[in-house]
Subunit: 471 residues, 2 copies
């Protein structure tokens, strides 16, 4: 028994050590990305020539065509489109909203900035005007009961937890208010739901995002929107002065039948193990308010550049390396599910998947969804990344699109860029190209490429070995 | 002998270990900064109500008054101004410059963006128009010789080394072109010097900065300016087409007599060792083109907040903690020199000095200028900072203003924020408040406070002990 354990450990160290040659390869990868990267140029096109790419939209279609054409220029072994049916939701006219306040002489309407949540129904043509009940979380609805809610607009004013260093953790703390708020409020007879924008910043941008009515019948669905953080404060203050004020909002969004769209895939076929797949990706769709530059144009162009940087750095992968540009992460995850479904059907052995979907900011490292043993081996590569100020190697989540690939054999990973500014822009009109820094984006692409290079070179066979020994 | 070494090592471990209580203090410090920090509000005033604060200017005076008044509100034990004579250089009217090109029919003037370098002389009233000779570094002047340079404008077009992950290293690679270029070019009879802006970005902003004529007699001094990176490319391309083109530039800057200004100092007097000083600071002056928000408004407000955050977190320092807002870092370092001079005169024992002068970006850690032994002890605190994603503890430089305090006993340190965006803004008109992220700034203030807390609690006595044993 002892001998067996020793063998495993030795085998692991052998499999995951690294050489001076690796240091030099990483240097080449980073230098190439910083001096001859394509990610920034691609992102410029995706953001400024195409723009927001909501699933089912014309722009999403243009983005499919553009990225496919760009991948085809790279001399990969294969580039193809993987069909997937996606939901089609359309915002319609720009939303309007105001707080109706009145003094003894006349009504005053104070305009506020809102946007419909993705998937919401429209208001009646002339909008909704109703009293407002402010709560902190949809869980408060039960305490209040139907009597206090019926006929009103529920305003969920849950504030961002600024104490948390990880802004993703703070986001996680409010996301269900946006996602479930309308369905829950509707159950108590609310006529509309307004949620404070999920943003780390006080400003005038409303932030959209997906919501769900769950199993609520169509006739019971109520319109829901996000209000900017500044206007959430304004509305809350106004309610403190006059709890009987009325709020008006109008939106004309519509849900259509599903439409055909695509995941865009490119592959360098492995020279030794062509049937082992390593994938790297981001999602091609985005919300419609901004250009989707950080979410997730950045992840798309970085992933595309991984394959290009491998080639430019003279690396011939042993395993098949795929870039997968997933469609419909934002409001359905259909692309991620489709890719995993097809991979399973074809019995493709995926050993590693890496997603970049946390913005094009300075990379800090990765989080890994894998066994402790596997993680301890990956951690041994950490010193290789230190010259590039990549220190963060932790266990944790990976990415929504690659989640459906999860099984006991695959290692899932997510690029972890600096998160401080991400939710200033996330799902809002200011998620635009000028907020992406070229060097930060390129450092991310290089960091991803370096990890893919190491995984390809050293494989993930230790897991398999150990499983075999166990079996 | 062996026993003595062991004693030293044990003593060091004792002195620098940390406790669970420290973890909880750091948590309080970070939470307070992120939820109740003052740095962002102070920076808003400094940037938007005052603006660029070049030494000797009205704005510099306003900044002295404002920060003194704000420190006085904090209930510190002492707040005072330390007089220091500073240079006064004034830019005058906005500079103009163009490339004179001509085709057979008519002259065409292509406007370009330049700014005078700090300390430069003016051009004659109508500007200078002359042929241009492009070089990569002022060291090329010697190879060319007077014959090829005389009567021309020397254009030093040294490009930024994008390969380097540390942008400060890339800056260091070109800084002497800006600083020495004019003096060197003048020796060979040049009539003007134009340097490519020291910036990591391709854009239209010229970046100023200090230059020196060394011991060049006044009558030999030639005007010098920085040209934006986009226009450096434009000029270089134009020269490739026509090496005989002329370049015109006009600037009306002036150097005046030195004027009286101040370092602003606040102190919490130590409860146990009032005669041991820990200082934390940034520089109050800035260049005149932008608001000096990152350089170094950020360092100023973070340093002010260190003393406030200590108080708000209920910490009673054992040693005297001073915030020092240095005047004239940008074009003279008079404030830093004055502070060290007075400290020496008064025989004040300074044990630790920390400067923040690298922008208000996400903090990555610190660099320390101290002995290896001391550094290994400080490094033992690293785990305390990990929850805040502070990983970088390295030996290296600290800050220009605290440099004059250097001796064998003091530990000097510099806050090291993420450097990728710093030189997009440094010394340019786009160094403005809107480019500073609130959370990034506040994380920096908290990180500085945490280090000051630990240094104060555990002291730097190991160094002294070791010295005593050696003696």
């Amino acid at each position: 028994m002892k001998i067996r354990v020793l063998t495993i450990i030795l085998c692991c160290f052998y499999a995951f050590s690294f050489s001076q040659e690796d240091e030099s390869v990483l240097k080449t990868i980073y230098t190439t990305s910083l001096t001859n990267g394509m990610s920034y140029q691609w992102l410029d096109h995706l953001s400024n020539q195409i723009g927001g790419r909501l699933s089912g939209s014309k722009n999403a279609e243009l983005a499919v065509q553009y990225t496919k054409a760009e991948l085809e220029k790279l001399g990969l072994d294969k580039v193809w489109l993987q069909p997937v049916m996606v939901p089609k939701w359309v915002r319609g006219e720009k939303e309007t909203a105001y707080i109706v306040t009145a003094n003894k002489d006349h009504k005053i309407n104070q305009d506020v900035n809102i946007c419909a949540l993705g998937g919401s129904v429209a208001t009646p043509k002339d909008g909704i005007t109703a009293n407002v009940i402010e709560i902190n979380t949809y869980k408060d609805l039960e305490l209040l009961g139907e009597e206090k809610i019926k006929g009103k607009i529920v305003f969920i004013n849950r504030s961002w937890n600024q104490e948390l260093v990880s802004t993703f953790q703070a986001y996680g703390g409010c996301a269900s208010e946006r996602y479930n708020g309308a369905a829950e409020a509707a159950k108590y007879g609310a006529v509309g739901m307004i949620v404070r924008s999920l943003s780390s910043r006080q400003d005038d941008y409303p932030h959209t995002g997906s919501m769900s009515y769950g199993d609520l019948p169509v006739e019971k669905r109520i319109p829901s929107a996000a209000i900017s953080t500044n206007d959430a404060v304004k509305l809350s203050d106004a309610l403190k002065e006059n709890k009987d004020l009325k709020f008006h909002f109008k939106q004309s969004c519509q849900q259509f039948e599903d439409v055909l769209s695509y995941n865009v895939i490119g592959e360098i076929t492995g020279s030794e193990f062509p049937n082992e797949y390593i994938i790297v990706g981001g999602h091609l769709d985005s919300w419609d308010l901004g250009d989707g530059a950080h979410d997730d144009g950045a992840g798309v162009v970085q992933s595309m550049d991984v394959l290009r940087l491998l080639k430019e750095s003279g690396i011939t992968p042993k395993r098949s390396i795929r870039v997968v540009l997933f469609m419909n992460e934002e409001n359905g995850l259909r692309g991620g599910r489709k890719y995993a479904e097809v991979a399973k059907e074809k019995n493709e052995k995926h050993v590693f998947a890496l997603e970049s979907d946390a913005g094009g900011f300075t990379p800090r490292g990765f989080s890994f969804d894998c066994s402790d043993l596997m993680f301890s081996k990956i951690e041994a590569w950490r010193p290789l990344f230190k010259p590039y100020l990549i220190h963060y190697f932790e266990k944790g989540g990976s990415g929504a699109d690659i989640g459906p690939l999860k099984n006991d054999d695959i290692v899932l990973a997510g690029l972890r860029p600096d998160s401080q500014r991400y939710f200033d822009h996330h799902h809002a009109a200011n998620d635009t190209f000028e907020h992406v820094n070229k060097r930060e984006l390129e450092l991310g692409a290089a960091t991803m490429t370096a990890l893919v290079f190491l995984v390809d070179k050293y494989g993930t066979e230790t897991i398999t070995n150990i499983k075999e020994i166990k079996d």
